[in-house]
């Protein structure tokens, strides 16, 4: 038996790994420490007092668009500006995500149309909108198209009770007239929905027992629309609509999407939909032709083949990159600063920073908001991927 020789420390991979890691930690730690020190020194030298005291100071500027927040010049504080910014970011992100998803899926599907012209048209759309900087597109629509070409308020383009002019897009807003009636209507609607759910379950059981298929989606949609309207009348028409009315300078009342928001939303939708369309195309093409053939060979109809075989498989490929696109859209909404829509980066990292000079705290908070969104997104993605792996291995 040979004696166990001791490995020299510098050749022992475990020791080396520990050494390397300690070294890395020390270097990074020292880097942060010296960064912190110089920053503190610089702040002292410039006489800047970093802190959160300015949160409670009254913000000396007006914010034009605060749909969900009671912001008042001379009363609201800086910290309110932060929350207004977050709300406006979320608002444009949600509007953009909805529109970009619808448009993106549509373009992606017609990209694979057997009609050569339609498919080429979709290709041209995708290649134009995803290869031009988003910022340029936002500015183009806002400054070159909408601002100069949209009419002044008194000549607004009217679409029913909706009005579009150079100030923005004006919509009627529902107002609750009578709370009791409204509650009755909501209660009736709830019963209707419960009934429909029970009906859908019953239909599924019927289908599994006898193979008879009922057109559940059509029946439900019809019941919701017709029933909803009848209940609305029965409960005494509890809503009224606050319609925008032309005032001296612009429309008053109703809901208003200011032009910067409208331009931003428009450009974000076109840009992101081009990327989503590519995801959709790739997803559908990833389902091998053999799958379709096998389904057709079993006698499934075209429609059933698409619904039962192609779409479920394609969605698995489409959804993850599309969720990433939603995050990108949200981050990209920060370009609003170029057209003056009052979202987080514009009002907080822009105006408030200029007013207070509190760079560290303000940029830190802004970054933190986006990091939270990003973490949330990767959390959702991981959850989704795990769920898929469970069923697919």
């Amino acid at each position: 038996m040979t004696e166990r020789t001791r490995i020299p420390l510098h050749r022992d991979p475990r020791v080396r790994a520990i050494l390397v890691q300690v070294l890395a930690a020390v270097v990074v730690g020292y880097g942060f420490y010296s960064l912190f020190q110089t920053t503190v020194d610089n702040l002292v030298a410039r006489g800047i007092q970093t802190g959160t005291n300015f949160f409670d100071e009254v913000a000396p500027f007006q914010i034009g668009f605060t749909p969900f927040f009671d912001y008042k010049l001379g009363e609201s504080k800086y910290i309110d500006v932060f929350f207004v910014g977050i709300q406006n970011t979320i608002l444009v992100a949600v509007l953009g995500i909805i529109a970009a998803t619808l448009l993106g899926f549509f373009i992606g599907v017609i990209r694979l149309s057997p009609n050569w012209l339609v498919s080429r048209g979709a290709l041209v759309y995708i290649e134009i909108f995803r290869n031009v900087p988003l910022l340029l597109q936002i500015m183009f629509w806002n400054f070159a198209i909408f601002l100069p070409t949209l009419p002044a308020p008194k000549n607004s383009i009217a679409m029913g009770a909706f009005y579009l002019n150079a100030r923005g897009f004006h919509t009627p807003l529902p107002v609750i007239e009578n709370t009791t009636d409204f509650a009755i209507w909501i209660a009736l609607l709830t019963f209707l929905v419960i009934g429909l759910v029970m009906f859908a379950r019953r239909a599924k059981a019927l289908f599994e027992e006898t193979g008879r298929r009922l057109p559940v989606p059509w029946i439900s949609a019809a019941a919701l629309i017709i029933g909803g309207y009848i209940f609305y009348l029965v409960s005494g028409s509890p809503l009224s609509f606050d319609e925008p009315v032309l005032g001296r300078f612009n429309f008053k009342g109703g809901g208003q999407l200011p032009l910067p928001l409208f331009s931003l939303w428009f450009a974000l939708t076109l840009y992101t939909s081009a990327f989503i369309a590519e995801n959709v195309r790739a997803g559908i093409q990833s389902v091998s032709h053999g799958q379709t053939e096998a389904a057709l060979a079993l006698g499934l109809s075209r429609k059933d083949t698409v619904n039962l075989v192609t779409i479920p498989q394609a969605l698995r490929v489409i959804i993850p990159p599309t969720i990433s696109q939603y995050l990108n859209l949200t981050k990209n909404s920060s370009l609003a600063v170029a057209v003056g829509y009052e979202e987080l980066v514009a009002v907080w990292a822009g105006i408030t920073l200029n007013q207070t000079g509190q760079a560290l705290v303000i940029i830190g908070m802004t970054v933190a908001v986006y990091e939270c969104l990003s973490l949330l997104t990767s959390f959702v993605l991981n959850w989704y991927n795990k769920r898929i792996q469970l069923t697919e291995r």
Partner: protein, 373 residues
């Protein structure tokens, strides 16, 4: 045994005429079904109602020559390319070079040199690719510094704050990709490391920069960077933007390279280990060359994104291609020709991004077929 028959292949016949030719093509691709026919007609209708007016405005009735806006005002039905023509040097090279005609050879030389080095690299069979790449990534930046920045060899120094137009866009993007590549490779290797501390540092770095919008990073670079360095160390705005862009881009490059590393079969590294190669040799000689080759398409894709994103520096006040075009269109002489300015700048961005994306798609396709065979 019966007599053996001789097999005589029957001659090929042409398919029935109704399955070939342009008419069959039309029937199959444009009028395959009722809905398809409707779509075709709708498409034609839209094309005929929107395309001719646009072509009319942009080309047929457009103004190309002249030196001031009177030409365009006289013919308002057409686009005013006169504006672009007059301001071209500004939009391409920025205020400094546009104001000094005797210095225009500097940016011109740089672009000629760049394309002379880049174009041969795009073809598969070019000999001496290795040297070309070294020249492009190693020598070209040095030439760029001495020629464009100047300050030695009797070339007057140009102030980076006066750089502008496409030249600035190009400089920002090129510096971004050049510096981000090595940092990104190291980060990607670190993220795949078995050492938890190294791995966490890389993951935090990558995810931090990827989670933040570039515009916030640019704000950070322009207002916070001065605080991070001892008094006396100062960068101008362009360099600050370059630092921010490099940090941001390295995180995306790292993810692209990581994808390539993940696609290399384990057997490669194992075989290298069996030959007695250590980690770095194994990585530099075996895994990394293969991984980089696979990840070129995704690296090009991150580069496309970066190229578009450089336009964000116009928000922090730099006069890049977008901002230069916009500023020119808002000048007293050319007020009101925004559309032309945006379209021209947009076309330049589009041409580069589309070219790069086609290149990356081709490469991806080629890699794909290579792997299958």
């Amino acid at each position: 045994m019966s007599e053996v028959k001789i097999f005589v292949p029957a001659p090929d016949r042409s398919p029935p005429s109704n399955t070939l030719g342009p008419v069959a093509w039309l029937r199959e691709n444009l009028f395959g079904s009722i809905s398809s026919s409707i779509a075709t007609l709708l498409f034609f209708y839209l094309c005929f109602s929107y395309l001719p007016p646009f072509v009319d405005w942009a080309f047929i009735k457009a103004n190309w020559t002249g030196t001031d806006r009177s030409v365009c005002e006289a013919n308002a039905a057409g686009a005013c390319w006169t504006f672009i023509n007059v301001r071209l040097e500004q939009i391409l090279f920025g205020l400094y070079f546009a104001s000094k005609p005797e210095e225009l050879w500097r940016p011109t030389l740089i672009f000629v040199l760049f394309f002379a080095l880049l174009l041969p690299l795009l073809f598969e069979r070019t000999p001496g690719k290795k040297w070309l790449s070294i020249a492009l990534l190693g020598v070209f930046p040095v030439v760029f510094y001495f020629v464009v920045y100047g300050g030695s060899f009797g070339i007057p120094q140009s102030n980076t704050t006066q750089w502008g137009g496409f030249l600035l866009t190009f400089a920002l993007a090129f510096v971004g990709i050049l510096l981000a590549l090595p940092i990104g490779i190291l980060l990607a290797l670190g993220r795949r490391s078995e050492m938890p501390v190294i791995r966490s540092i890389c993951v935090i770095y990558i995810e931090f920069w990827r989670g933040t919008p570039l515009i916030t990073i640019l704000f950070m670079a322009s207002v916070m960077l001065p605080l991070f360095f001892p008094a006396g160390v100062e960068f101008d705005k362009v360099v600050r933007a370059m630092i921010g862009i490099t940090m941001f881009q390295s995180a995306y490059t790292a993810e692209a390279v990581r994808g390539g590393l993940a696609a290399i079969p384990k057997g490669q590294a194992e075989a290298a280990m069996a030959l007695g190669l250590g980690y770095w040799r194994r990585t530099v000689l075996i895994t990394l060359p293969q991984a980089l080759k696979i990840s070129i398409p995704s690296i090009v894709n991150t580069f496309i994104a970066l190229f578009k994103d450089t336009s964000l520096v116009s928000i922090i006040g730099l006069l890049d291609l977008l901002n230069m075009a916009q500023t020119a269109a808002r000048s007293v002489e050319w007020k009101g020709y925004d559309i032309e300015g945006y379209l021209f700048a947009g076309f330049i961005y589009w041409a580069f991004c589309y070219g790069m994306s086609r290149y990356s798609q081709n490469l991806e396709h080629k890699l794909d077929t290579n792997r299958r065979n």
